[in-house]
Amino acid sequence: MSAALALMPDDTPLLRVEGLTKRYGAIIGCENVSFDLRPGEILGIVGESGSGKTTVLNCVSGKLAPTSGGVQFKTRRHGLANIHELSEPDRRRVQREDWGFVHQNPRDGLRMRVSGGANVAEPLMNLGDRHYGRMRQATIDWLNRVELDISRIDHKPRTFSGGMQQRIQIARNLIHAPRLVFMDEPTGGLDVSVQARLLDLLRELVRDLDLSAIIVTHDMAVARLMAARLMVMKGGHVVETGLTDQVLDDPQHPYTQLLVSSVLQI
């Protein structure tokens, strides 16, 4: 890990996770997870189901209180702060203003009862915008950016295909210019061609906006394409970490070797 960090440009991290442990009673969710994330950097967390990827993501994004350990984030309002020591309204404000969260299932990240356009505009309203015309224009701009047909702006999310719902979710999570986006299997339930187009789009957006992101995935190809750095998890522990190409081309840990060799080849 330290070798990988040394290669990074020398600026202070946006996010610093130290000794993060989460236990569900006697069961270990994750144990002693530490990493830094710098502005503009994308970290991939890979591992099999039940390896603790999502637990890490939920603890880091403030959705779940860790048993021990800290999550420091450089907030716009409070400077560098431990997310879990902020008061609840302050933490919710950081989540609203500085972060985005893209769920695997768009149903978890969208309001299914309101139109796609309103879904995209909601973060602006949460931040206090009270001008309809301005928000409408921003929504149209973002629907164009995620390559959605703007004539369908007022349709309900259920009338969209899975890939289109995921595009709405991405627009909704980027419209308020967050600095860090959490993605939990962002292309999980999609077929390969839609997945490829979506990944292409995501990669472009993340680069253009100079976003930092943490992507949880079990798909090595997604990790390869999106992440600069990789963290491999097994049984709640980080077993290997490093630059993505390094980890995937020359895996050191037996589990990582197994993981890489299990990828299906066509």
């Binding site: 309001r111 001008h131 309809y132």
Partner: protein
């Protein structure tokens, strides 16, 4: 409001002596009064209370009846309206209920009443100091349509996170080109708590702003009481480029020629004839007694029916 000191209905008629004064037992009334006091202390905040089984089904005004029962005293004058009218089934039976169990004088006149229970309307006649308006509320949570988790809506109220409410207004404009919601239009009370003003038309929203009367809201099924104390600021939500506006009619009331009141459309026959009349029956009757006449003030449904069928009745 007069303190109900008599625990038993000492001067009630013999068949009603079975009940405690105003139906509810004294401990329940104390509990509801405490909730009301808390609601008044925190304008717009929904105070939970132990809603009781009432002799009418939920949705028929159980919340309003309990609030009234906790407040009403022997010297009160009680008025009950439903959709603005004093003579609809619900209004008549609730009025009769309190005449029986609380032995109070009842009235149809807004000016004479000390407690006015209502659903769907605030009377046209401006309320005065000392009057209490009790509104029956089906759904006290304005955010419920967008967020179904109670824990989440409570957090939103606690932290003043009301962006979500604007999503419903946004939806309205994108669908209809204007904020189309006609009733239960959300308001911000004293610039702090978001409140659903029961399903009154948005036409009545401005009447709540700095009202000299106390406004109480009771939701029986949802077990919540909230209040707008006298002279409290009440602001209807809107967008900078789509300001709040109330319903307008091109017609005047067909009975009393009023241009200022909230009008109901009444279909007269199968050939599309209709009339617009005041929804507030007391307001309309008072104006007609004062000599105002609308275009159809001598209209009679029987005559119209007779002329249509040529005098033959089916």
């Amino acid at each position: 409001m007069n303190a109900a000191t008599n625990t038993a209905a000492s001067n009630a008629s013999s068949e009603a002596a079975y009940y405690t004064h105003a139906y509810l037992d004294e401990q329940t009334k104390r509990m509801i009064r405490r909730a009301i006091l808390k609601a008044i202390a925190i304008p717009g905040y929904q105070v939970p209370f132990g809603s009781r089984e009432m002799p009418v089904p939920y949705g028929w005004g159980t919340g309003g009846i309990q609030v009234t029962a906790a407040l009403i005293g022997p010297r009160d004058v009680y008025k009950c309206i439903d959709q603005g009218a004093d003579d609809t089934t619900n209004a008549v039976s609730i009025r009769k209920f309190f005449a029986t169990v609380a032995d109070v004088e009842t009235t149809e006149s807004t000016a004479d009443a000390t407690i006015i229970q209502s659903r769907h309307r605030i009377p046209e006649l401006p309320l005065r100091e000392g009057q209490i308006m009790v509104l029956q509320v089906p759904q006290p949570e304005p955010l419920r349509g967008l967020e179904s988790r109670e824990t989440e809506t409570r957090a939103m109220h606690a932290y003043e996170e009301y962006g979500l409410q604007y999503v419903s207004l946004y939806e309205n404009i994108s669908a209809f080109g204007r904020i189309a919601g006609g009733a239960g239009y959300p308001v911000l009370v004293d610039e702090r708590y978001l409140m659903s003003p029961s399903p009154i038309p948005k036409f009545d929203n401005p009447k709540m702003h700095l009202s000299p009367a106390l406004l109480l809201f009771g939701a029986g099924r949802e077990k919540r009481i909230y209040a707008v104390p006298p002279y409290t600021r009440v602001r209807s939500l809107d967008f900078e480029d789509y300001p709040f506006e109330v319903q307008k009619w091109t017609q005047a009331c067909a009975l009393c020629a009023s241009h200022e009141s909230y009008l109901d459309e009444v279909i007269l026959d199968d050939s599309g004839n209709r009339m617009f009349i005041c929804s507030d029956t007391d307001h309309c009757a008072t104006r007609r007694a004062d000599g105002h006449h609308g275009s159809m003030s001598d209209f009679s449904l029987e005559d119209a029916e007779q002329s249509r069928t040529g005098g033959e009745r089916p």
